[in-house]
């Protein structure tokens, strides 16, 4: 059965796996990357640190997606938008940290100099403050999701209609961000970052710090989501997924429940986006493309809807396969993804987690 309804946060085995993961992220990776000399065969290169960091960002998004889709039954095909908004919010700060080290040696970001702008657009107000931008990372996706969700859920927009509207929303935002006049670098977006908190961003130490922060955020997100889904709140969510009308006739205002988990999910995506940008070094409107958002849903479907660990596994497996394919057979990646998705839908309705659970029994 889906839903993973259980009263405990995790059993001893779950905690042990989590502890192993912590050791890998906070001890093994830093040692192999920073302490082991590059000549050694045990050295983990910067490429791997960045790749795994990136995948952990995706895994955070997958957990957020699983919360609303796997538990509350709301399929969003626009979650890439919240991820990108978080990335852009933090990207603004990273752009300001470049200072006058850009190509034009001007205090304003290169793209603004290129467009011959003399002042910052209003959205950039206070963007040289880390805390201000960190707040925007949470508030912008959260507020957009809240307002959008309020109207959609109150009007009882459901199922495929809701999914299509979220898809349209991210597409519209992508078109908006493609325009230079919007003030976020047009189709080039933000890149060429130099520093974060006045610390050079490209050093192995900073990279490892970002990696570790991402790992901690992933663990925090997982535990928060697990706590939510094992509480009575989580049981109400799963009940909304299965029989919303019954939930309403039980006296629950389902709009509030959906709005809460929807907004939370968007905020988590925003945070993941903010962690993604400094590690990958670029954010552009391509992140808002509908295909990206659909891919998020595919991770969760492959990993196993209604299982948080499954969502993380799904994000890891698909993105691992993606980086393998795009290096060896770049032209076949989308075919492979489509095939995997079809096979999982046909034969593994519960995803990889369903397969693992069946093995156990």
């Amino acid at each position: 059965m889906t839903g993973g309804i259980s009263k405990r946060l995790y059993g001893p085995r779950g905690w042990a796996i989590l502890a192993l993961f912590c050791v890998a992220v906070f001890v093994v990776m830093p040692l192999l990357n920073l302490a082991v000399p590059p000549e050694s065969r045990f050295h983990v290169s910067a490429y791997w640190v960045t790749l795994l960091g990136k995948i952990m960002c995706y895994a955070i998004v997958a957990v957020a997606m699983d919360l609303i889709w796997g538990y509350a039954g709301i399929l969003s095909l626009g979650h890439g938008l919240f991820f990108a908004l978080g990335g852009y919010a933090f990207g603004m700060y990273l752009m300001r940290q470049i200072g006058s080290d850009g190509q034009y040696r001007q205090p304003m970001p290169d793209f603004m100099v290129f467009l011959d702008w003399k002042e910052f657009p209003w959205a950039w107000w206070n963007s040289d403050s880390f805390w201000w931008c960190a707040m925007l990372v949470v508030v912008v996706p959260g507020l957009l999701a809240f307002v959008f969700g309020y109207f959609a859920f109150r009007s009882r927009v459901k199922g495929v209609y809701f999914s299509i509207i979220t898809q349209a929303l991210t597409f519209a935002a992508m078109l908006l961000f493609f325009r230079n006049a919007t003030g976020f670098g047009g189709n080039n977006g933000f890149t060429d970052f130099r520093r974060v908190l006045d610390i050079p961003i490209a050093t192995p130490q900073t990279r490892m710090a970002l990696f570790a922060i991402t790992g901690a955020t992933l663990i925090g997100t997982l535990l928060l989501a697990r706590w939510l889904t094992t509480s009575r709140f989580g049981r109400v969510l799963a009940a909304i997924r299965d029989a919303e009308q019954r939930v309403m006739f039980c006296g629950y205002d389902t709009v509030h429940y959906k709005l809460f988990v929807w907004t939370l999910s968007a905020v988590i995506c925003g945070i993941a986006g903010a962690l993604y940008v400094p590690q990958v070094g670029i954010i552009n409107p391509g992140e808002m493309s509908p295909a990206n958002s659909i891919e998020i849903a595919i991770w969760v479907a492959i990993g196993g809807r209604g299982s948080l660990v499954g969502a993380i596994l799904g994000a890891g497996l698909v993105n691992g396969a993606k980086s393998f394919f795009t290096q060896t057979f770049p032209e076949y990646w989308l075919f492979a993804l489509g095939l995997i998705f079809i096979l999982v839908t046909l034969f593994l309705p519960q995803g990889v987690m369903g397969l693992l659970n069946k093995k156990k029994q």
Binding site: M1, T2, R232, F249, D253, H256
Partner: protein, 272 residues
């Protein structure tokens, strides 16, 4: 038993006696009062100036041919459908036509659907836990845990619906009749003043139907019940007062005998 073609007075506060009613002003002995309700869908009048009143502690059976408006009436009372005209008063003061489904449920009206609607992926226990009367706002639900009083009340309900051996079973695996009983149990957990039961014995075995009848009779008095049912044998067993709906309004009202001998009823319904 009082019999009234007009249904708007307070003649019914007779044999049942009155029930203590916290928060519900039922000084006239009426728990539910529908006044001139009309609902139309694309020109079709599902309810046509329907007026009906249910007394405190009463067990009322509602019958009528298909399309008479029985389910629409329940939809109006529970907030699923808004009436085009008319008012529905729960007690003396609560106008449910202005409230959401959740608010109406919290006010004390519970509803069983025609098709058993339970949470199939939750355990039987969790089904009862979720429907239990409690503060159902998001923040409270996040931090809630079961008190021993609540656990006792769940255990008691499990006994009433004879599912105490299946508390940890996934509800989707229950038999059809057991699902019907679970849904009734979920209603009881809400501690409603008024229960609306849409075809509660559909698909039940004779034995289960018999026990359901006994259960309803034992609930009457403590709760008010409105039962919509096609099974005339079942109606005959539990009915005290029957309302016959036809084309969206009340055709006749009275005891089983009176209704069965009413020429209008014979014409449209029983004597088909």
């Amino acid at each position: 038993m009082t019999v009234n073609a007009a249904t708007t007075d307070d003649s019914g506060s007779d044999s049942m006696g009155r029930v203590a009613t916290e928060g519900l002003d039922s000084t006239h002995g009426v728990v539910l009062y529908l006044d001139d309700i009309s609902v139309s869908f694309d020109g079709f009048k599902a309810l046509n100036k329907l007026s009906l009143s249910i007394d405190i502690g009463e067990l009322r059976c509602v019958i009528g041919p298909n399309g008479a408006g029985k389910t629409t009436m329940m939809d109006v009372i529970t907030g699923k459908t808004r009436p085009d005209e008319g008012t529905v008063f729960f007690g003396q003061t609560i106008d449910v036509t202005k409230m959401s489904e959740a608010e109406i449920s919290t006010a004390g009206i519970g509803r069983k659907f025609q098709k058993p609607t339970i949470f199939e992926h939750h355990s039987v226990f969790e089904n009862l836990e979720l429907s239990m009367k409690a503060d159902k706002r998001v923040r409270k639900t996040l931090f809630s845990s079961l008190s021993s009083v609540q656990k006792d009340s769940i255990a008691e309900t499990l006994k009433i619906i004879r599912l105490n051996d299946s508390a940890d079973r996934v509800a989707g695996l229950l038999s059809h009749g057991q699902k019907q009983w679970l849904e009734i149990g979920m209603l009881l957990m809400q501690e409603p003043r008024l229960l609306l039961l849409d075809e509660p014995v559909a698909g039940m075995s004779d034995d289960e139907t018999e026990r359901t009848g006994e259960l309803f009779l034992s609930l009457a008095g403590k709760h008010s019940l409105v039962v919509v049912e096609h099974d005339m044998a079942f109606i005959e067993k539990i009915a005290r007062k029957i309302t016959v709906l036809h084309e969206g309004s009340v055709l006749a009202e009275g005891s089983m005998d009176e209704v069965q001998n009413d020429p209008k009823v014979i014409e449209v319904y029983l004597g088909r």
